[in-house]
Symmetry: C2
Subunit: 357 residues, 2 copies
Amino acid sequence: MNKPWHAVTEQNPKGNALSEPFNTVVLRKPYLLFLGEETSPLKAKTAFGLRDWAPGSCTGQMRMPGGTVDLGLRELDPVAAYAAGARSLLIGVTPVGGRIPAHWSPILLQAVRAGLDLVSGLHTPLESVPGLARAAADAGVRLVDVRRPPDDLPRATGKRRSGKRAAMVGTDCALGKKYTALALARAMREQGIDADFRATGQTGIMIAGAGIAVDAVIADFIAGAAECISPDAAPGHWDLIEGQGSLFHPAYAGVTLGLLHGSQPDALILCHDPLRTHVVSWPDYPLPTLKEAERLYLQMARLTNPGVRLAGVSLNTSALDQAAAHEALAQAERELGVPAFDPMRTPLDRAVAALLD
Amino acid sequence: MNKPWHAVTEQNPKGNALSEPFNTVVLRKPYLLFLGEETSPLKAKTAFGLRDWAPGSCTGQMRMPGGTVDLGLRELDPVAAYAAGARSLLIGVTPVGGRIPAHWSPILLQAVRAGLDLVSGLHTPLESVPGLARAAADAGVRLVDVRRPPDDLPRATGKRRSGKRAAMVGTDCALGKKYTALALARAMREQGIDADFRATGQTGIMIAGAGIAVDAVIADFIAGAAECISPDAAPGHWDLIEGQGSLFHPAYAGVTLGLLHGSQPDALILCHDPLRTHVVSWPDYPLPTLKEAERLYLQMARLTNPGVRLAGVSLNTSALDQAAAHEALAQAERELGVPAFDPMRTPLDRAVAALLD
C-alpha cells in the first residue's frame, strides 16, 4: 500500500512522518474521475470538488456515451489512465438514488483489470457489484467505499498530542466547514506553513486521500477516530480539521461532540450561513446566535484542550451581494472580535494570522 | 415474533401499546440462565442482575460439571426449561476473554433444538459458532447478540413525544446509572405509577427484554436510537432511561450527548460516586463537581426539551459506612436542592415525588 497521502500534498514542501494519520481510510492517487453519463453539474459535485481542491491528484476524466459534464480534464480510458499514472478510478457523480447502475459494471471491471483501485462514496457497496470482488482480488487492487470506517478503531485516549489543531465548527450542517478547512490549509501552505487538511467526511477523504467518515463510525469510537485523523505532529504543524454536524443539531450533536473532543483543537473556526435561521430540515430548531455558538463550542472543547480559543468566523455569503456580504462579515467581526471571512470570496490572511497568534 | 416486552413487565398492571418501543432488539422471555462451569460470582454478574431485577423472567438455571455459581433457581436442561415455559437460553456468565468456549457448542446446539432462542452479550457472534446458524434456522429460533443494534435505525426527528421521561446522567461511567433507573421504575410501579425501565446497554436489554446498545450504534443514529427506545406514551406514563458514559468523558461524551438529545428528558437524575475523583481509567480527567455536572447536563438537554429540570441525585455509597453515606447524601442534597438517595440503600419515595412534581 502506498504511504498515506498528505492533503493538498502537491503543494506540501516537506513530508512529515510524524503527522501521518493512522488507522484511516487511505486512497491511492492520482485519480481517473468517472462521470458516467451525467448531464447535470449538480450531480457531479464530488468530481468538481476534486478538480478544484486536488488538481494535482486528477489524471483525467472518463465519460460514457451521453455524458455532458466536463471537468476540462483530458479524456482517458482506464488503460490509458493507468499508463498516465492514475492509480484509482473514482466515481465522481451521484446517480439518482445514490446507487451504482448495473450498466456501469463493464467499465468498473475494465478499470479493475487495468490495475486501478475503485473509489466510491455511493450507497451500493462496491463488493456487491457482481464479479467485481473476484476481479479485484485477481488484479490485486482494492474496492474502497470511503464511507466505510476502518476496522478496529481505538477508543480515545484523551492524551494531549503534539502539533497544533484547528477545528471547523458550525451553527448547522452543510454551510461550508469543509471548504473553510481546505481554504485555510491552502492559504497556510502558500505562506510556507506546514499544514494539512484532515478529512472527516467522504468528499473530504477523496480530496485528502485519507481520513475517516466519522458519522459512520460505531458510537463508542467517534473521539477515537478523531484522534487517528489528526495524530501527533511537529510543534509548528497545523491540522485543519473538517467538522461534522453541529452541537445545536437534534440528531447529530453526538457526532459533533465526539469529533470535537478527539480533535483537541487549539483553535476553533466558527462556520455559519447568515441567511439560515433554522437547522436545515429540522424547522423546530432555530439556530443559535454566533455568540451562543462560540460560548458552547469553547465550553465543550475545553474538556480535552483547556487552552482552546476562537480564531475566526467563516461565513457562507454565497447568496448575498457584495455589499450585504461585506456588512454580514463586519457584523460577525464586531460580534465575536475575531477576523470574519468567506473562504470563497475574501482573503484569508487575517484569519491565518489569528490562527498563528 | 412475540410482541415487544415491557420492562419489569411482571409487575406491570396495564399493558400500553402506545409506549411500546420500536426498532429495538426484542428478546423472548422467560429465560433459562446458563452459567457454564463458572465458579466466581463476579463473572456471573449478568445472571445475578437478571435474577434480582427480572425474577419473573427467569425460569431456571443450567450449569455444566464443575460450575459452582448458584442463583438459587431450579436446575433445568433445555428441554425441561422449554416445557416449563422458557423461550430463550441466556448466557449469564463472562468467561475469560469474553468469548464463547468451543466446548459450550453441544449445549448451545441442544438449546436451539429444544426451541430456545440464544441470547448473548459476549464478543463471539453466536453465528460464528460452527453449526449454530443452521440449527437455529432449522428450529425456527433466533440467535441474538444483544450488543448488535437493529438494522435500519432512523435518524432522530427531534419532535417532542408524548409521555414523561427521566434520563439517568452521570459524572462518569459505571457508577450506578442502570440500577438507579431500575430501582426508580420499580418504586414507581409499586406506587401504581405507569413506568418503564428503558435499556441502552446489554445487561439492561436482557433485564428489560428490549432496548438498544446505543454505544454500538453507527454515530449518525445515536439520537435516533434513543427516540426508538422511549417512544410516544400516555400522558402519565414515565420512562426511566438508562444512561451511558458521561458528558465529562473524553472518549464517550458523544454517545452521552446523542442519547440525552434523543431521550428528550423532562427530568434528570444525576448519578455519582462520592469517592471517585477522576474518570475511571482516564486519570488526566478529574470529575466535575455535582453543581458543574447539573449545569452542563441541563444546558445540553434543553436543546430537545426546554422544560428539563433536575429531580434527584443518586449516589453510589457502597464503599461508605452508614454515617459517611448519610453525610454524603445530606451534602449532595444541600448542594443541589433535590432529594439525594442511594438506590441500593435508601428509600426512593422522595425522589419519586420529586420526579412527579
